[in-house]
Symmetry: C2
Subunit: 357 residues, 2 copies
C-alpha cells in the first residue's frame, strides 16, 4: 500500500484512538447475507424535534414536533409518542393498515428498551426487541429483510427512536445540571424513523446485509462517541466491500449513522490506512443533521439520527432517482454508564445494509 | 366453555391481575414460523452460582461457580465471565472451535447489554444484540434457528446470562441496603446458558418458533414479576397451540421461563379460562431451580434462569430420551425502573420455540 497516511489530519484529535488492524477474517467468517428475493421498503416516516427540523435536512422530515414533551408529562412519554407516530405513519405511507403488519422489530436507547416496549404494547404485532445502540435501525432492517427474504413474513415494520432529553438524563447528566459539553461531543437527535418492509412492491430493495462485529479500540470518553465508533464502521465497511466484491465507487452513497464530523474524519483516515479512499459519496447522518450555528459541535448522534435521515432525505432522493445504490451503516456505541464508571472502554458495532433502486 | 374457574385458587394472590381476554388474532396475524430444515442444538453449556448449584437441579449444571465475583473486582465482570464460559463451553460441547461459529446472538439484563457487548468484543463473530428481558434465550434461539433454516449461516451461538447482585443493583436496591423482600418476590438467578445451533448434527431439532406480542395486564409492582409475565406466557402459548394445531397433551414438557410458583399458578388459571388444562407436563424453570429452604420465595427469575435450566436439566433429559417434544417459552418483564417511577405498568413478552428429538 503506497498511500501516505496523515493520521488525524482532518480532525486534530487522535489521542484516544489506538490505530490497529481490523479483526482477522477466518475462512468460515462471513458477515454478509444476500437476499435472493430482496424485500422492498414500501413505507417510511421520519418524525423529529424542533432543532432537527431547523437543520440542513429539516425540509425532508415528515413531521416536526416543536414541543420536546409533545404535550406529555415526561420526555420519555414524548419519545414513545414519536416512535408510535413514525411506525403508524410508515404503515400508512405503505398503503397498509396496522393489521397488515405481521412483525414489529424495534429498539431504542432507553434502558430495557422502554420506548419500544410501550409502543409494542399498543400494537397487536409479534415483537422482536433489539439493542445495538445507534446501530439499531440497520440491525432491524437486516433482520426484517432476512425474515421476509426467507418467506417467514410478508410485511415487517422496522423502527427506532432517540430523544435528547431522555438520553442526557440516562447517559450523562440531568439537563438542569447545565453541564458543559466538550468540543468533541455530539448532540443526541430527538427523532424517530420507521420503514415498512414488504415482500413485493415498488420501493427500493434491500439486497444484502452485513452483520457487524463488536470492536473496541480503547476509547473511554463517554462524550467522544465518534472516535469510539469509527473503528466499528471501518470493520463492517471492509467486510462489506470484500464480501460483496465492491468498493467505494460502486455506491452512489455510503451513509454512516452518527459518527459526526470528528468520527467520520477518523473513518476516512482508517479506511485510507486499509487502502480505500472514501470520496464525496460518503456522508454521515450525524454530520448533516445540524449546521454549525446550532452549536451541536461534532453533529448528531442517537438511534433516531440515522433512522430519521435515512427515512426522509436519503430514501426521498433514492425514490427520485438521485441515488441508485446506497450502503447504510448505522453505528452504535455499546457503553453503559455503569461499565464506564468501572473503568471499561467503549465497545462499538455497526451493521450495514445495501439498498438498491 | 363449561370449566369452573377458581381465580387464584392456587396462588391466593390475584389483586394485581386484571383478567382480560388475550389480544385479538387478525386474519393476517401469524406469530409462528416453521422450519423446514430444522436446526440442531449441537452443543450446550450451563454455568451457575453456588445457590443454584445447591438447588433441586444443581447436579445437572456443567459448572458451579462458588465465588459470586469469580475472582473479579465487580459482580458485572463476573457476569461477563459466566457468559463467556457458557459460550465457549457450548462451542467445545459441539466439537467446534470458535472460528467455526458464524454468528453470535446474545442479550442480558444489564443496561445497554453490557455483558453481551463485552463478551462479543472478545469473540471475532458477527453479533446480534437482543433485548426481551428474561425471554432473551428463546428470542435468540428463534432468530438463530430462523437464520440457519434460511441458509444464511451454518453455525450460530445463542446465549444469555443474569446475576443476582448486578440485577439487584440495577433494578432494585444495592445489596448493602438490606432491603426486605415481599413474599411474592423472586430471586434473580446467577447463571448463564448457551446453545450452539448447527445446520446438521445429531442434537434435538428446533422445529418452530412463535414470536410473542407485548402484553400488559396492569401489574406495576417491580417485585411481582410472575403476575406481570403470566398473561404474556398465556398469549404466546395460545397462539402456539392454535398455529401449530397442538394442545398441552402433545408435549412431553411445556417449560416456561421464570414465572415462579405464583406466576405459573396464575398461568394455569389463565389457560383454564381459555379452555386449556396444563397438567403435570407443565413446569416453570423459576419454580424448580431453588427449593423452599433456600428462601427464594416464589423461585428464580432472570434471563439466566431458563437459559441455564434448558441447557442442562431439560436438554439432558431430552438427549436421554425422556422428552421427545418440548415447548420452551421464556418469559420477560420489560419494565425499567425509570418507567415504573413514572407510574407505568409492566409490559411483558414471551417467545416460544418447539424442540423435538
Amino acid at each position: 500500500m503506497s498511500i501516505t497516511l496523515h493520521k488525524g489530519e482532518n480532525c486534530g484529535f487522535t489521542e484516544n484512538v489506538i490505530v490497529s488492524p481490523p479483526p482477522k477474517q477466518t475462512s468460515k467468517s462471513r458477515q454478509t447475507i444476500f437476499f435472493e428475493n430482496p424485500p422492498r421498503i414500501s413505507g417510511r416516516m421520519a418524525v423529529v424535534g424542533e432543532k432537527e427540523g431547523k437543520g440542513p435536512v429539516g425540509a425532508y422530515f415528515d413531521k416536526i414536533v416543536k414541543d420536546a414533551k409533545w404535550g406529555e408529562k415526561t420526555f420519555e412519554r414524548a419519545e414513545i409518542d414519536m416512535l408510535m407516530c413514525a411506525i403508524k405513519g410508515s404503515i400508512s405511507d405503505a398503503d397498509l393498515s396496522e393489521t397488515d403488519v405481521q412483525l414489529l422489530i424495534t429498539g431504542d436507547l432507553l434502558n430495557q428498551l422502554t420506548s419500544s416496549s410501550y409502543v409494542a404494547r399498543e400494537l397487536s404485532m409479534p415483537h422482536l426487541g433489539l439493542y445495538s445502540a445507534c446501530s439499531t435501525m440497520s440491525e432491524s432492517l437486516a433482520i426484517g429483510a432476512a425474515f421476509i427474504n426467507a418467506g417467514y413474513f410478508d410485511t415487517v415494520a422496522c423502527a427506532t427512536v432517540s430523544h435528547f432529553a431522555t438520553a442526557e438524563r440516562q447517559f450523562r447528566y440531568p439537563l438542569e445540571y447545565g453541564c458543559q459539553r466538550p468540543p468533541y461531543a455530539q448532540w443526541t437527535v430527538t427523532g424517530a424513523g420507521s420503514s415498512v418492509l414488504t415482500k413485493d412492491g415498488k420501493g427500493p430493495r434491500i439486497t444484502s446485509a452485513t452483520l457487524g462485529k463488536v470492536i473496541d479500540f480503547g476509547t473511554n470518553d463517554l462524550n467522544n462517541m465518534g472516535a469510539a465508533m469509527a473503528p466499528a464502521a471501518m470493520s463492517t465497511l471492509l467486510s462489506m466491500f470484500k464480501e460483496t466484491d465492491t468498493s467505494g465507487d460502486d455506491y452512489d452513497l455510503i451513509l454512516t449513522g452518527d459518527l459526526g464530523k470528528l468520527g467520520s474524519d477518523i473513518l476516512r483516515d482508517l479506511m485510507l490506512e486499509q487502502g480505500y479512499y472514501l470520496g464525496q459519496n460518503y456522508i454521515d447522518c450525524g454530520n448533516i443533521i445540524y449546521d454549525v450555528t446550532q452549536k451541536c459541535y461534532q453533529g448528531g448522534s442517537g438511534a433516531g439520527c440515522s433512522a430519521s435521515v435515512l427515512n426522509s432525505f436519503v430514501l426521498d432522493k433514492m425514490e427520485r432517482g438521485q441515488y441508485n445504490k446506497i450502503a447504510y451503516l448505522a453505528t452504535g456505541a455499546l457503553m453503559s454508564t455503569q461499565s464506564c464508571y468501572q473503568g471499561e472502554t467503549i465497545p462499538c458495532i455497526s451493521h450495514a445494509v445495501i439498498i438498491e433502486r
